[in-house]
């Protein structure tokens, strides 16, 4: 039963107050994009066994989407941050690397 802190309202929210939204930082490919790019965007997933950047919505709270860095093997949460973030923020990456020196962003 995950516990994630909503970066907007600061509530440490129970999983049952949230809705999961899958992998984060996907780049959208629209009309004119190649079949491969579009397939990659819509279906192909990193699905790491390890650090995973993902989307959550504070459904039973402020209703806002936010992003989280979480390990899918230990379920450790390295941090949550605003959904309006094109790629993982520096401080999150540093926090992960501090705990897992050999980890790097794929």
């Amino acid at each position: 039963m995950l516990l994630l802190t909503c970066p907007y309202c600061g509530v440490s929210a129970d999983e049952t107050e949230l809705s999961p939204g899958g992998e984060a930082h996907l780049k959208r490919f629209g009309p004119g994009s190649s079949d491969e790019d579009f397939e990659g965007y819509l279906f192909m997933r990193h699905n790491q066994k390890g650090v995973h950047f993902e989307r959550w919505r504070h459904t039973y709270g402020c209703g806002k989407w936010f992003l989280a860095a979480r390990c899918t093997a230990s379920l450790e949460v390295f941090g949550t941050y605003s959904a309006q973030t094109p790629e993982p923020p520096k401080e999150i990456i540093e926090k992960i690397q501090a705990k897992r020196p050999d980890w790097s962003l794929t």
Partner: protein
């Protein structure tokens, strides 16, 4: 292979069963095999079995990170049915179901296939129309199903509460020849038969790398050394993306936890399998007497084989409402497994970007029932390069937008 029978048991009983031999050998890996299967779960072992039985390919190794049958094969709710809506699904699941019917005899190992019948409850007008449609489709697919009335539902399953205040039972899709089987026995039976054919089942052996030579698979690196192969089959539900990554390609898959639970054993009170998809729960009674219960999968990526309790709660809540008598039963044990979820929730049995490397994954919450059919198709694909049962389940379908979507008629339940 020592033939199993009641006579063998009586004979051994005289010697207090000191004479039984191993069910499968415990070999050390050879340097090279014609085919290697990664994953000694039901699907992997069935693939190996049919490679040998149908195509005479017996120089085969099945590599297992842990212990055989220790993944989702030994963690599911053992439901077997083939009342699927879409043609490709109905084809492979019905092939599977029909193979299950004679599997005990084929393997000389009692997998306790119990064709007790499966009811999928219709609890909304929309769901009812969906199952009526499925019944029509099944009639053309050669799958015996029938939409039955609430009274028939009650006769088949007296403990059900038809007039639930929220979702009265409007009928159900009935597959009389669906049922259950003993999950461990399926893996063990296949393992024993594979071993008897001379195949090597190598447990406690983790694959660490997949070697390719100009685009063609050549060998795998394992914790027990390098093993060469002409063909490679990846059959590792839950860790498909992880192993595919070693072979250098990505998959349209996310790994999530699926949970189940059993009650304490009670005397027989339920002779059929019931699925209530509107409320997300399904239940049957094992031969031991436990009520075997499953529900929906978690929504987030997870490799822990533990799920979130809310899903157990949602499922139990639904089933207490559907079968009020279970309220005073107790949950004995809950557990979880990791399942592959694909973009359309249907499986992948396919060639891959790597020559001679094949993958069988993405069974989501419905893999157990498919084991024999999946192994049959995967073996054919590996041996002949294509299989009518597998062709529709290729990796290319996502790029083409050619979905096989079962959610159309069924909700969560498998």
């Amino acid at each position: 292979m020592r033939h199993y029978s009641v006579f063998a048991i009586v004979k051994e009983a005289m010697g207090y069963h000191q004479g039984w031999e191993r069910a499968w050998r415990n070999p050390t890996p050879k340097a090279h095999y014609d085919a290697i299967i990664i994953g000694a779960g039901g699907h992997g072992l069935a693939t190996a079995y049919y490679l040998g039985k149908n195509f005479g390919i017996t120089n085969v190794a099945v590599i297992e990170k842990g212990w055989l049958g220790g993944g989702n094969t030994g963690r599911n709710t053992t439901i077997i049915r083939s009342n699927y809506l879409q043609d490709p699904s109905a084809a492979i699941y019905e092939k599977s179901r029909s193979l299950y019917e004679t599997l005990s005899q084929d393997l000389n190992y009692n997998i306790m296939f119990s064709p007790r019948g499966v009811i999928m409850l219709a609890q909304t007008e929309h769901e009812k129309r969906g199952y009526l449609r499925t019944a029509h489709a099944n009639s053309l697919q050669g799958v015996e199903t029938r939409f039955i009335t609430p009274r028939e539902v009650k006769e088949l399953c007296p403990i059900i509460h038809l007039e639930g205040p929220r979702y009265p039972v409007l009928g159900g899709l009935w597959q009389a020849r669906g049922g259950t089987a003993r999950h461990d026995a399926v893996a063990w039976g296949y393992a024993r038969a594979c071993s008897a054919m001379g195949m090597d089942i190598i447990q406690q052996c983790e694959v660490t790398a997949i070697h390719r030579e100009n685009g063609t698979v050549s060998a795998i690196e394992t914790t027990k050394g390098r093993i060469g192969c002409n063909k490679l089959g990846i059959v590792v539900a839950g860790h498909s993306s992880h192993v595919a990554d070693m072979a250098g390609f990505r998959l349209p898959i996310e790994s999530v936890a699926l949970q189940a639970l059993v009650s304490e054993p009670i005397k027989p009170c339920m002779d059929v399998v019931v699925m209530a998809n509107t409320v997300h729960g399904y239940m049957s009674q094992s031969d031991k007497g436990e009520m075997v219960i499953g529900g929906g999968a978690d929504g987030y990526n997870n490799y822990t084989q533990r799920g979130s309790f809310q899903h157990i709660e949602e499922t139990v809540r639904a089933l207490v409402e559907t079968f009020p008598m279970i309220s005073r039963l107790k949950m004995l044990r809950q557990w979880g497994g990791i399942v592959d979820m694909t973009g359309d929730r249907s499986p992948i049995i396919s060639k891959t970007p790597v020559e001679n490397c094949f993958i069988n994954c993405g069974w989501g919450t419905g893999g157990f029932k498919a084991i024999p059919g999946s192994g049959w198709a995967m073996a054919e694909l590996m041996a002949k390069g294509h299989s009518p049962l597998a062709d529709e389940f290729g990796l290319n379908r996502f790029r083409e937008g050619r979905f096989i979507d079962e959610s159309v008629a069924a909700g969560v339940a498998h």
